[in-house]
């Protein structure tokens, strides 16, 4: 079985020091980087910390930076990347330990964009709302975000100012703004118009490039700019 080297950037929070560890990992044509990390944890070094769960690119736990690129390691084959493999924690977030970062700031942003349907009154439970397939298509991509945080790690604006609401939360804002069941359009446009919201985006577009689920936050954010601008002009 071929073998490769994982070079992992580590952080020891109790001593406050960064260091690197190197491990030899055997792999086959279908071995993922995540399987390699689990191999290290099981057999080589039990002190290495990282998050993972579903191993099928749905839960969004295992975002890391692989060879400088924000990556979901469960869906990335060892064979497909340059070796030795250099793994770092996600950029732009505080590091808790090794490859584990603190993403609480995103949870706050999610709440801030009001990530839920707002209506004057909820309908009775015997009545479904009519939503045409083409209306559903409008939110197809923006509702596919798994909160893996790769886009935040790739975003230079968020990297320089954490006040920025950021790609995933803005995509989700766009998603609720375009949901035909929602009745809080003006409230949402107000959020989109804030200083730290859509306008702060400098259109680098890396968020869309790194997204593992085909969400296009860059497009959604530019749309939010247009919607906000038109709204401000005509109101």
């Amino acid at each position: 079985m071929p073998e490769t080297t994982f070079i992992i950037k580590r952080y020891n929070p109790e001593k406050g020091v960064f260091y690197t560890s190197e491990y030899k990992v055997p792999y086959e044509s279908d071995t993922t980087i995540l399987s390699g990390l689990i191999y290290i944890k099981d057999y080589l070094d039990r002190t290495l910390s990282f998050r993972y769960s579903c191993r099928m690119a749905s839960c969004g736990s295992c975002g890391m930076v692989v060879n400088k690129k924000p990556t979901l390691v469960c869906r990335t084959l060892i064979e497909s990347v340059k070796k030795p493999i250099y793994i770092e924690p996600l950029y732009n977030f505080p590091i808790i330990k090794d490859l584990v970062v603190d993403i609480d700031i995103f949870l706050d942003k999610l709440k801030f964009v009001k990530s839920y349907i707002i209506r004057e009154k909820e309908e009775d439970l015997d009545k479904e709302y009519i939503v045409k397939p083409e209306q559903l298509d409008l939110i197809k991509h923006s509702s596919s975000c798994i909160n893996c945080m790769l886009c935040y790690a790739a975003c230079p604006v968020f990297g320089s100012d954490e006040e920025f609401i950021g790609p995933a939360a803005l995509a989700i804002l766009y998603r609720y703004l375009h949901d035909p069941r929602d009745q809080a359009k003006s409230e949402r446009i107000k959020i989109a118009s804030l200083k730290n919201s859509a306008y702060m985006c400098s259109m680098v577009g890396q968020c869309t490039v790194v997204c593992p689920k085909g969400v296009d936050p860059s497009f959604h954010i530019q749309r939010l700019k247009v919607i906000s601008t038109l709204n401000n002009l005509f109101s």
């Binding site: 929070p13 910390s49 099928m56 949870l107 559903l136 509702s143 069941r181």
Partner: protein
């Protein structure tokens, strides 16, 4: 109020837990509801559910039809009063989720669309492409953010439930972020921690599915019910065990053997690919045993053929299946066959609860896969588990809130909490040297896979019980290889393994004592169903010695057990 006191504590943040928390929180803004989860809620394994959620919402459907399909699917082990309650409440839960924004697929008129699923006699599976669990989980999680009286403890690992005089008092939990040990006081609690697929080697379940809640309940004397009934999903990717949704067959996919025959004609001729999961999984095992499987590097498999569906339908209805097949086995189902084999998927059994989701401990409730009401009996029908999480999650939230309103906190003997703290810090963390959890974990997985799998017999089940006992002995010598406090995932794995061993014990013993074949529990030495002796739920209790087994009669309302033929 003490920062660490809550009226209702929900353990687990998946579909059942979130639905429960929202229900409890909406009963009164004065109620403080905590969600305690070892992961951020949106990482919960509900996220991986694919095919859909069943509910009788269409004019050609009715409650009796859904109920009877479920009961027949369960091989008549489901409690019929529970099933009747479930089918009546499922439609409003589906509509509720639709009101909260869940992007269910629509028909041309804009109404909620339905698809075929195994064992169902009409189209009744509501879906959001083939990522239903993902959409459902995120809808629930994002909706939960609306409630200021829901407090989250993200990445807190629950180590024990504290009970005094058969009354729930609180939980102990380890905060992964800083390694601090906490006692969370509560008036009521809901166990909603999902399944335990990690006790098997080949499973569709995520790494977090280690049966924590089942073991937490088992340890305080609450019985686990019907644990021998373990569902093996027929179609998983060889090697990884990644789930290929039943929706693939619901939308018209075929299962083929190496002669390119739709072999199910020899097993479930009237249902073919839409037969129930237990029968199809055994059919695949049999085809492979007859030499009719394809050869692969991860063992023999059969093929799932979607080619005739065409690219447009696959993209619209099964986009994730295509993505998974491309990413993990390098195959595009538009023009190639997907290799599949059965893998552990779901536990029909779980924490013993009644129709109100109450456990025998006052103030302690359970819902979702971690619990057993039972609506699934010996075999769950695909797409009944998501609505089960919603229906019984909501019921548990309602009843836990009611209990919290009517009761006060109970007084806790702090020695009990200190004992638990010592167990973790002195026995596991500080112990100088010992064996690594991986050594035991992989042996456990092998044992369960080989001896408590799809086909079972007395000899192997006995061996499995002995082996689990031995591994439990070995576990006493485990120590942490990481002695630090902050985000120590080594200690998490050890605590999880400890839970897995308890759950495995419950499964193996329950299987050993049920000397009949019913649903997913197939005994080659007792191949017939035996209603005379076993039309009953197994209850397994933890004791100092071997687990103790008891039985509880099945509740039958209007459908007499009949031969189960498709």
């Amino acid at each position: 109020m003490d920062k660490y006191s809550h009226d209702v504590i929900v353990i687990g943040g998946g579909a059942a837990g979130l639905r429960a928390a929202i229900e409890a929180a909406s009963k009164s803004p004065k109620l403080s509801v905590a969600i305690v989860s070892k992961v951020y809620p949106m990482r919960s394994h509900t996220v991986s559910a694919e095919g859909g959620a069943a509910a009788a919402i269409k004019p050609d459907d009715n409650f009796d039809l859904h109920a009877y399909d479920t009961i027949k699917g369960s091989d008549f082990l489901a409690d019929q009063d529970a099933v009747e309650l479930f089918v009546r409440l499922a439609p409003r839960e589906i509509i509720r989720l639709e009101h909260w924004g869940c992007p269910w697929n629509r028909d041309q008129e804009g109404k909620i669309d339905v698809r075929w699923f195994g064992g169902m006699s009409v189209k009744r599976t509501i879906h959001a492409a083939d990522k239903t669990g993902f959409y459902l989980l995120h809808t629930l999680f994002q909706t939960s953010l609306k409630y200021d009286n829901i407090v989250r403890y993200d990445e807190y690992f629950v180590t024990s439930i504290i009970v005094e005089n058969n009354r729930f008092c609180g939980i102990t939990a380890l905060s992964l972020r800083d390694g601090a040990f906490h006692f969370l006081k509560g008036k009521a609690a809901i166990i909603a921690t999902g399944g335990a697929g990690q006790i098997y080697k080949f499973t569709t379940n995520g790494a977090i599915n280690t049966g924590d809640g089942m073991a937490l309940a088992y340890r305080i004397g609450v019985p686990l019910k019907d644990m021998e009934f373990v569902q093996f999903h027929p179609t998983c990717l060889p090697g990884s065990g990644i789930l290929i949704s039943e929706a693939a067959r619901g939308e018209g996919g075929y299962l083929l053997n190496n002669k390119y025959e739709r072999f199910l004609k020899n097993y479930v001729p009237t249902k073919m690919e839409l037969g129930p999961r237990d029968i199809i999984s055994r059919a695949i095992v049999n085809e492979i045993r007859l030499g009719n499987g394809f050869k692969g590097k991860h063992g023999d498999y059969v093929a799932l053929d979607l080619r005739h569906l065409g690219e447009e339908k696959i993209e619209e209805k099964l986009p994730q299946i295509r993505e998974l097949a491309k990413t993990f086995v390098g195959i595009d189902p538009v023009n190639e066959l997907i290799p599949v084999r059965p893998g552990q998927h779901y536990f029909m059994g779980g924490v013993h609860v009644d129709l109100n989701t109450s456990t025998p401990v006052a103030g302690l409730f359970a819902a979702g896969e971690a619990s057993c009401v039972s609506i699934n009996g010996a075999n769950r029908l695909g797409s009944n588990s998501l609505p089960e999480c919603l229906v019984f999650g909501a019921i548990s939230g309602e009843h836990a809130a009611k209990f919290a309103i009517e009761h006060d906190y109970c007084n806790v003997a702090y020695e009990n909490i200190q004992i638990e703290e010592k167990r973790i810090f002195d026995q596991l963390l500080k112990k100088e040297s010992g064996i690594a959890p991986a050594e035991i974990k992989y042996k456990l997985k092998e044992t369960m896979e080989e001896k408590v799998g799809i086909l079972r017999n007395e000899k192997e089940l006995l061996e499995a019980c002995r082996e689990v006992e031995k591994l439990k002995e070995m576990f006493k010598n485990v120590s942490a290889g990481d002695k630090t406090m902050i985000f120590n995932t080594d200690i998490v794995e050890i605590l999880e393994l400890d839970f897995m061993l308890d759950v495995a014990e419950a499964v193996a013993y329950s299987a050993l004592y049920r000397k009949e074949s019913r649903g997913a529990h197939y005994r080659t030495d007792y191949p017939e169903r035996n209603d005379k002796e076993y039309l009953a739920h197994t209850l397994v209790y933890k004791t100092r010695e071997k687990p103790q087994i008891d039985y509880l009669p099945v509740k039958i309302t209007k459908w007499q057990p009949a031969e189960r033929k498709y």
